[in-house]
Amino acid sequence: MKLQDTFLFSFKTVTSYPTRSFLIILAMALGVAAVVVLTALGDGARRFVIHRFSSIGTNLIMVLPGRAETAGSFPGATMGQTPRDLTLEDARWLGHLPQVRRYAPLNVGTAELAAAGRLREITILGSTANLLPIRHMQLAQGSFLAHGSQYSAQIVLGAKLAEEFFPDGNVIGQHVRLADRRFMVSGILSRQGETMGFNSDEIVIIPINHAQALLDTTSLFRIMVEVRNRSDIPSAKQAIRELMIQRHDGEEDVTIITQDAVLATFDRIFRALTLGVAGIAAISLAVAGILIMNVMLVAVSQRTDEIGLLKAIGAPGSDIRRLFLTEAAWLSLTGAIFGFMLGHVGSLLIRLAYPELPAWPPAWASLASIVIALSTGIIAGLLPAARAARLDPVKALSGR
């Protein structure tokens, strides 16, 4: 029997049992679609996080006081174990390094904000004018901290705070009180929402020296450094480390985190996550494979008569085996193709429903699910096909 005829004949068989074939194809399609959609979700989440993290700045290096042993640890994890302060003087020296385009020292704390008869505990950020370009922040109104304004009593409000305290919208130039100090509102941040666990809509930004006085500290929370080029990152990291060792009496007591390292960590975590959900979805492919095996076994006993007849008119066992294998292949292949389309439609729907989430199924996942579907289908067909090929034609024809 020629291969082409084998494929045609088994295709005809598949279409001769429409309900049965439809159900198996559906099971296989759902398995493949599950893999495609879930990997699309996982990969979409990865891209979403990476994008969000990239959006807080480019070519960033963060310098934290204290020494963390694990590279790429989450910023802030090393807070509270500070052997030696990281000072504004350190930051100023750092700014002189040739690789550094700009830097922004940062202090974080809480204080009570009072204005227009309202009072509320809020997070304050102390920094300089450079924070705006480094963090890629946008202003909705007014202006940011002025350059060289470390001592001027300026304040920039988060979008939500501005609305809460000044519902009439007349904000710029108004006076507010932070603890017992008076500040004049110079600008409002545009709405950004949550970024890496940090809601910039509910913070205020004041000049660094005011912040240090207010929080009664001389130690910085961290220094954010933007280097000139991406290729400068390793050398800048090295230069910063050497400078800090030199300034801190030969002791390496700062942690330097590059944005790239953090990004790479997130990337790894989310890839592992995507693989994990793909693996779980792949179980449904195995289940579909078992279904195919079951249905093919039933088919062998239902078609005993036909198998006996084919043998009587001269089909060798190998032809019978190939017929059943190609039938299983048709079922799983059709299921895989429908599942592929279904998965892509599902991903499209997710992207339409959540435009922020770039839920594109990765090519490797689509390809792998089709290959796995096809191979499980064929493997599932092996046992029934072998059983059919071994049937004794005399018994098969006598209906026993």
Binding site: K2, A312, P316, V394, L397
Partner: protein, 223 residues
């Protein structure tokens, strides 16, 4: 020519040993018309299955057209079956999901004949068996006589040297049965060896050579 020498076929039913064929010696020349008769369990169907290479004897030799086919592999036996032997069954054994034309086409597909040639040969055969109008009908839509005509057409489309019929009229009424017998006898007149296994004395007596069987032995062989 079919030549069986000391063919023995033993079935086991639990502890019991049943000799369905017990040292059968038989020569059937090309173009003969033979009937094999005997009570149930006499071994007549087993004899037909051995001749048709569907069943393997436990001992003895089988020569078909001067070739020893006893020890051929399964694939080689399938080839011999395809080329030299046509089977006609009591229960027709048509593939229910295929049309009459597709059922007749099956042996051609198995033989690897290209589609264009298949089409021509199927049409010729449909015409010869007066089935042209029924070509696109499935077995369920055909009468018993038509089904057996389709089965005979399928058995003979590759022009086998021997046609083996196991109770070919068993599922048919008398009139349709006679038509089918006439068809088989026409094929015999055209030169095919015809071997018919039957209970039906009337049908058995039509054959030129009548073999009687009982308990695995040939008890009668009359010309």
């Amino acid at each position: 020519m079919i030549q069986l020498t000391a063919i023995t076929r033993i079935f086991h039913m639990g502890e019991q040993e049943i000799r369905a064929l017990d040292h059968i010696d038989l020569i059937i020349a090309s173009g003969e018309y033979v009937s094999i008769m005997g009570p149930s369990g006499s071994g007549k169907s087993t004899l037909l299955n051995v001749i048709g290479l569907l069943d393997k004897p436990d001992s003895g030799r089988y020569q078909l057209d001067d070739r020893d086919v006893t020890d051929l592999t399964e694939t080689e036996q399938a080839r011999v079956r395809r080329e030299k032997i046509g089977f006609v069954f009591q229960a027709f054994h048509l593939v229910p999901r295929l049309t009459a034309a597709e059922n007749i086409e099956l042996p051609l597909i198995l033989a690897g004949i290209p589609p264009a040639e298949r089409k021509i040969r199927v049409e010729e055969t449909l015409h010869a068996f007066d089935l042209s109008k029924r070509a696109q009908h499935r077995p369920a839509e055909l009468s018993g006589g038509q089904r057996q005509r389709v089965a005979i057409a399928r058995a003979t489309i590759l022009r086998p040297t021997a046609l083996l019929a196991d109770e070919p009229t068993g599922n048919l009424d008398h009139r349709t049965g006679s038509e089918v017998v006439a068809l088989l006898e026409n094929l015999h007149h055209a030169g095919t060896t015809l071997i018919v296994v039957t209970h039906d004395r009337e049908l058995g007596l039509r054959a030129h050579r009548r073999i009687g069987m009982r308990d695995g032995f040939i008890v009668a062989d009359e010309q």
